[in-house]
């Protein structure tokens, strides 16, 4: 029940979140903005357009958007956003969630390589480097979070955070939150790691991979990227600010209430992220490893803090 609600919420709400974030940026830049429904209008139009099979591409190119969207949908069902009890909680833990998201990136990178264009190769190469460098930070943050509760299953971690709200402001938790926030930015391709609204091919990572996709394929990719962003933001809020999440056998009303709360929290986080982007420029590609090394250090400190300060 909760899992179905979560998937629907993420599937429907994610484009709205992206629209909201664009709107926040527009307002801060003195513009009027296209309205928060614009990503949905874009998606509606894209699915009506004609799919294209560029010369020389094959099944990998076609399967990539499906796999990308599929992985995010599974993650949306597993991650506790509305309710901590998911029927899939026994299926996949936090490591599996991370690996599933990586699988989505890999699918897209292979789709990009399949086109044999230089941009596809470049985007795939960069995406894989970011993915490889992000991995240690994620797993160490998972480590720091799971030390307290003795498990990596998300339901338990979040439930224990609900039961013990003060643990959230422990040094270990705060450091892990900072590390995971940087990771989220890198994984979702936001400034300062990547610029989602760039037109200059040479500065792109994610956009360079999707240059050959058109119509419904592109719609799937944009939709999946939006879902990825909202799932990761939702995960961040559930891990570090789980207040209001439905625990145990919650009724329909409690689930709806929890849904409203999580929407508010994710919207707030998204707005903060968008506002932060206005104040920052994209980093050069070869400065990104330094940023990620910094986040790795924070995650390492988080683990150390969870042992020495416990």
């Amino acid at each position: 029940m909760g899992a179905v609600l979560q998937v629907v919420l993420v599937a429907v709400g994610s484009p709205l979140l992206v629209g909201m974030m664009r709107q926040v940026r527009a307002r801060l830049e003195g513009r009027a903005g296209a309205g928060i429904g614009q990503p949905w209008r874009d998606l509606r139009k894209l699915v009506r357009k004609e799919p294209i099979a560029p010369d020389g591409t094959g099944w990998v190119f076609r399967a990539a958007p499906l796999l990308l969207a599929g992985t995010v949908l599974v993650v949306a069902a597993v991650v506790p956003l509305v309710s901590t009890t998911s029927p899939l909680d026994e299926v996949a833990d936090l490591f599996a969630v991370v690996a599933l998201l990586a699988l989505g990136s890999v699918a897209l990178a292979l789709g990009a390589l399949d086109t044999s264009t230089a941009f596809g190769g470049m985007g795939a190469s960069r995406e894989m480097i970011v993915l490889a460098l992000v991995e240690p930070t994620i797993l160490l943050s998972v480590f720091a979070l799971s030390v307290r509760v003795g498990t990596t299953n998300l339901g338990t971690i979040v439930t224990s955070a609900v039961a013990d709200p003060l643990a959230v402001i422990s040094p270990a938790s705060l450091l892990a939150a900072a590390a995971l926030a940087i990771v989220t930015i890198a994984e979702t391709g936001r400034i300062p790691v990547d610029n989602p609204s760039t037109h200059l091919e040479l500065t792109m990572i994610h956009e360079a991979m999707v240059l050959e996709y058109a119509g419904p394929d592109l719609a799937l990719i944009e939709w999946a990227s939006a879902m990825r962003l909202s799932v990761l933001l939702g995960l961040l809020t559930s891990l570090f600010a789980p207040w209001g999440i439905a625990t145990g056998n919650a009724g329909l009303l409690a689930l709806l209430l929890a849904a409203v709360v999580v929407i508010a929290k994710v919207a707030l986080l998204g707005a903060l992220l968008a506002a932060g982007e206005v104040f920052m420029a994209k980093l050069r590609l070869f400065r990104i490893p330094e940023l990620l090394a910094g986040s790795f250090l924070m995650a390492l400190l988080a683990v150390a803090a969870s042992f020495f300060l416990a």
Partner: protein, 160 residues
């Protein structure tokens, strides 16, 4: 912090959207439903039109609020914005760009040069106006066209 003060002091710079008659949408663009991605092709322009396009998507005119957006790849685009007379070097490129756009696709000839070669008519390097190379759906006159004219033409595509 100074940037924050600047943002607060500046406030909104986008001019209020001018009135427009509802329902006045280009028939070919009806299917797009309020979202038009544009790929700009400079077929030999003097770059006067480019300056105007840049200002159209700048904060003051803010064409994005009507659902129009510039994109990097013709695969993502619904419409091509072509500027300048089509030079001989760009003729094939323009044709291929048009081929690369998925259906339904539109072409906007922006500026007098794109419509009828303007000042470059009869020049040795020019093939002809855009309509000689690819079918044109909308034209925006002017040398260069004013941003208001470009915005009005774009709104006929997006219907907003």
């Amino acid at each position: 912090m100074s940037l924050w003060q600047k943002i607060r002091k500046t406030g909104r710079v986008a001019e209020p959207a001018p009135e427009r008659a509802p329902g006045n949408v280009l028939p070919a663009a009806a299917e797009l439903g309020g979202s038009v991605q544009l790929r700009h092709v400079d077929a030999g322009s003097c770059n006067g039109c480019e300056v105007e396009i840049a200002s159209v998507f700048g904060p003051v005119y803010d064409a994005e609020r009507y659902g129009a957006r510039l994109v990097a790849s013709p695969r993502h685009a619904d419409a091509l914005v072509v500027t300048g007379p089509v030079t001989r070097n760009m003729e094939m490129a323009l044709r291929r760009t048009y081929e690369a756009v998925p259906e339904p696709r539109l072409v906007i000839a922006l500026g007098d040069c794109a419509r009828n070669c303007g000042a470059f008519a009869g020049a040795y390097g020019v093939t002809g106006p855009v309509s000689d190379v690819v079918p044109v759906d909308a034209e925006i006159p002017g040398c260069p066209p004013r941003p208001e004219a470009i915005v009005a033409a774009l709104r006929e595509l997006t219907g907003r």
